[in-house]
Symmetry: C3
Subunit: 130 residues, 3 copies
């Protein structure tokens, strides 16, 4: 069920952007109990004036290749699983398309399992009483 | 107070997109205790490389007409209300602009009523102590 | 750690948009216990059909200059801090670039401090047990 929203600067080729989504998707499958094919991901590309970041916060040397990743997920994972997800996303994106580990920013938003509908207007993660 | 963010592929006419927002808005009024005129909605249109989804997850046959709907709402509704909202959104969007029920993905993000300001920098949903 | 997403109508110059982000950033530093340089902000610019709002909700007279601000933050502030943030954002944006207080909509999404990674795939806000 993750809904993944990636924000980055305009100008990267489609193959690069596709590789980012693939890397995040594979990390979720491998570390976060996300089932195969549970893939709903979008990218927003931004002009310079619409993309503002600190090049130094937390002592990390970021560049214009920074990728902001926001994943909305069910609230069913513990801290160790979150850490594993973060590590794996960074490893995958470094392997391809070649994003520096300094340039990966990740944020999780957690919601109740009842807060998802995957089609037909049903809440697939909660049992139906009717 | 819902803040509604819709993501879809580029290429739909303005009337189609407007009908999507109208359908979601009417569903919130009808099923989710949302007052009239409480309407704050945006659409992000995406290139193919920026919009990635599973055409099969949960056994649902999705197409490029898929609509990803994320509603940020106050945490004041129960599961039955959520189910009613999901159903109604899908019914409305099928009636107009004609979205297939398989192509409607919905996610709710719930927040505290204190987390909203509708103007003037006030937190309109919490009583002012000063 | 705030991740700030601003949505507005297309057509504002870059300096105007940059001033919006600067004003929000300074408000977070001043009122919300956000450290210097903790800045991760994006703007989405929308066509008319992709940006829909009530011009009257809560008796507030909004215009097409409306700015929808969604801040994802750690769940560590109280209501008074939220109110102070809202007030300061509105004051700052009125001072420059000159946004009407009626045209500032703010929403907070709160998450656990473990839900952030600022680079290197680490969860910088939670102690490492390994």
């Amino acid at each position: 069920m993750p809904l993944v929203r990636v924000s980055l600067r305009k100008g990267k080729p489609a193959a690069y952007r596709k590789a980012i989504l693939d890397g995040i998707y594979r990390a979720m499958i491998a570390t976060f109990n996300v089932p195969d094919e549970d893939r709903f991901m979008v990218i927003n590309e931004h002009d310079e004036a619409d993309f503002s970041y600190s090049p130094t916060y937390f002592g990390i040397n970021r560049s214009d290749d920074l990728i902001l990743i926001q994943l909305t997920v069910s609230n069913t994972r513990n801290v160790e699983q979150k850490k594993a997800l973060f590590r794996r996303i960074v490893e995958n994106l470094e392997a391809g398309p070649g994003v520096r580990p300094e340039d990966v920013f990740i944020n999780l938003v957690e919601v109740d399992p009842a807060n998802w509908s995957f089609g037909y207007g049903l809440a697939q993660y909660v049992a139906d009483k009717t």
